[in-house]
């Protein structure tokens, strides 16, 4: 139980970013004349899967599958995760896949790559702060923080060697 909680804490920054991006989309999927309740559901239908995948990213980072700040694997991850999230949303509350499923997924995968850049970018900003807060009580957070600290030490070493 304790271990699960510790892992879930690692998932929080990624999940928040995913949820926020989904919420940003909140208003966007409203189609003219649709009631607000429907729009909120539609936003939720995107925010939830994005938050879920964002959280999974954090968990995998904790497992060492992803290395902090590297882009390649994260890009591939979102190329799959983003289209799936959009598919969930569109099949529940969308206008139907007028283009067909494959062109839809292809297009969303491309956008997913862009989404990944923004995601890693923000994750790299938020995760270290969160880890510093959680490390005293959470050995898993402490371990991931260790990886970030290695990087920070390398940076500090070169700044310290000025002149």
């Amino acid at each position: 139980m304790m271990i699960e909680r510790q892992s879930l804490e690692l998932a929080l920054p990624g999940a928040s970013i995913g949820a926020a991006a989904g919420a940003m989309a909140g208003g966007l999927v409203l189609f003219a004349g649709q009631p607000i309740g429907m729009a909120a559901l539609s936003a939720l239908a995107l925010a939830l899967p994005l938050a879920l995948f964002g959280g999974v990213y954090g968990l995998l980072l904790g497992q060492g599958v992803f290395r902090p700040g590297t882009f390649g694997p994260t890009g591939l991850f979102w190329m799959a995760a983003f289209p799936l999230s959009r598919l969930v949303q569109d099949s529940l509350f969308g206008t139907g896949l007028t283009e067909g499923v494959l062109p839809f997924l292809g297009y969303q995968a491309m956008v997913g790559l862009g989404f990944a850049i923004g995601f890693v970018w923000l994750h790299e900003r938020l995760m270290p702060h969160w880890l510093v807060r959680r490390a005293p009580d959470n050995p898993r957070a402490e371990a991931v923080l260790g990886i970030y600290l290695q990087y920070a030490h390398a940076l500090r070493a070169r700044k310290g060697g000025r002149r």
Partner: protein, 496 residues
């Protein structure tokens, strides 16, 4: 990454090395150790500034406009422009990382008047607060607050924030990073909602229609607009030159040996800024291995962050514009009439009618966000660049100190900006508008030539650019200057 707690450089005993690298007529550069490159390919870097500055009006308005008017095939010019800028970025970084000096100092090493030319162009082009208006006008459409109030409040805010910041670079990097992160995520989500495979396939195949120029584009009305858009593909004007200052301040490469610029309130704590940069031992294989690490790091930044984000934002905005034009033919008319605010408004309306009023507001919100990014970045970079040149090359300026000079330039441009917003033409006097547009593009051609001279003459042989890189930068000089002068002689106008 906050490094403000880093012990002052004087606390560590300097490792002295008597050897120097002589470059040009200025003081020779002492040989020092090159620091280790970041251990992994890491998405934290000064490129964030270039992206913040670069993703602006060209990406959100000029190119979507050209695509709607001339079809997606026109985008081959954009591909060339942005790719060229990525190579320029790598070459700017080469000098800055190898010496810890800005490209302005490099120019002064080649020929001092060259540097003063850039000093004057920067003042002529960047003191006008016109670039604020698009963002502030978008904000007005969302909130109803008159744009002039937002613009002035924004200016004062920028001044206060940068004056209070302990170490400016860290603050700016954090703020811009969050803004850009939000922008990239938001743009991706919007594009995912409104676009389709068809739109993006058009946009991408259009990028490879090399040589396409419809006959109506070759007219006095449109050719200058195309030249302007080419200059605005990615960072325009002097933004790439300022990037070298950000590299130095972020401690990239030999920049690690140079202290940081501080906010006015903390200017007293400033460490003394050396009058020249440093060089590493290029005959030492260990040092060269570290250099390769730095080059990998900056190449990653150039390709993924700079090229990738710029492409993503432009493709997304183009896709949005295409779907807007399908829904509302008014967009096309507004674009043809070159009414930027009306066109952005029409695009927002079209987006609204496809989705909801919230969607339109979000679209305008992004335009406002882009404006804010550009303002933060431009004012800071301008002041940084002018302070750097003044500090190093105006006699007696060293007594004032780099941070105070930075503050002086920052507040001067802010106060001038407010006065102009209240009493004058925001873009600059009408009579010299053409000249300013000309100078801005001319500076881009001029920095390509400067780069060739600086990197091939001021750097030790082992770290000079490869031939193909020189060819591309040379092409850049011909591209910018050629388009500019062709436009001037064939149509009698600078750029649109």
């Amino acid at each position: 990454m906050d490094t403000s707690n880093t012990p002052p450089a004087t606390a560590t005993p300097p490792v002295e090395d008597d050897r120097v690298w002589k470059a040009g007529r200025l003081d020779p550069m002492p040989i020092r150790k090159l620091p280790d490159a970041p251990p992994s390919v890491h998405i934290v870097g000064p490129t964030v500034f270039l992206v913040a500055l670069g993703v602006g009006i060209g990406e959100s308005y000029m190119w979507p406009r050209l695509v709607l008017l001339f079809g997606p095939e026109i985008r081959w010019l954009f591909l060339i422009g942005v790719t060229l800028q990525a190579v320029v970025m790598l070459e700017m970084a080469r000098y800055a990382m190898a010496t810890g000096e800005s490209i302005f100092s490099g120019a002064a090493r080649v020929f001092k008047p060259l540097m003063w030319f850039f000093f004057i162009v920067a003042i002529a082009v960047y003191i006008w607060p016109g670039h604020l208006s698009a963002g502030a006008a978008a904000f007005e459409q969302i909130t109803g607050i008159p744009w002039i109030i937002t613009a002035i409040a924004g200016l004062v805010l920028v001044g206060v924030v940068f004056s209070l910041a302990k170490v400016i670079y860290n603050l700016l990097e954090n703020v811009l990073s969050l803004l850009i992160g939000a922008l990239v995520l938001g743009t991706a989500v919007i594009a995912a909602m409104v676009g389709s495979w068809g739109d993006v396939a058009d946009t991408i195949t259009g990028m490879f229609a090399i040589g396409y120029l419809p006959s109506e584009a070759l007219s006095a009305a449109w050719f200058p607009v195309i030249v302007g858009a080419c200059a605005f593909a990615g960072p325009s004007g002097m933004q790439q030159m300022w990037y070298t200052l950000h590299l130095r301040d972020s401690g990239a490469g030999m920049g690690a040996h140079i202290p940081k610029v501080r906010g006015l309130r903390h200017a007293g704590e400033e460490e003394e800024m050396p009058a020249r940069g440093f060089m590493f031992d290029t005959d030492d294989p260990a040092e060269m291995a570290k250099w390769k690490g730095w080059r990998r790091w900056v190449t990653f930044d150039a390709l993924l962050l700079f090229w990738g984000v710029t492409m993503l934002v432009t493709i997304s905005f183009t896709v949005i514009a295409q779907s807007a034009a399908r829904l509302n033919p008014g967009v096309q008319t507004a674009l043809q009439q070159d009414d930027r605010e009306a066109a952005l408004g029409a695009m927002s309306d079209a987006v609204s009618s496809a989705g909801s009023s919230v969607l339109g507001a979000v679209f305008l919100g992004f335009i406002a966000l882009i404006g804010l990014n550009a303002t933060l970045g431009l004012f800071d970079s301008f002041s940084r660049g002018q302070a750097d040149m003044t500090y190093n090359f105006v006699p007696g300026a060293k007594k004032i100190g780099m941070s105070r000079l930075y503050g002086i330039f920052l507040w001067a441009v802010i106060i001038f900006g407010i006065l102009i917003l209240l009493f004058g033409p925001a873009d600059g006097p009408n009579e010299i508008l053409d000249t300013l547009a000309f100078l801005s593009t001319f500076a881009m051609g001029a920095y390509c030539v400067t780069l060739l001279l600086v990197n091939n003459r001021m750097l030790p042989k082992p770290i000079r650019p490869r031939w193909w890189s020189n060819v591309i930068i040379g092409f850049g000089a011909v591209f910018y200057l050629g388009l500019l002068f062709y436009c001037l002689f064939a149509y009698g106008v600078a750029i649109g």
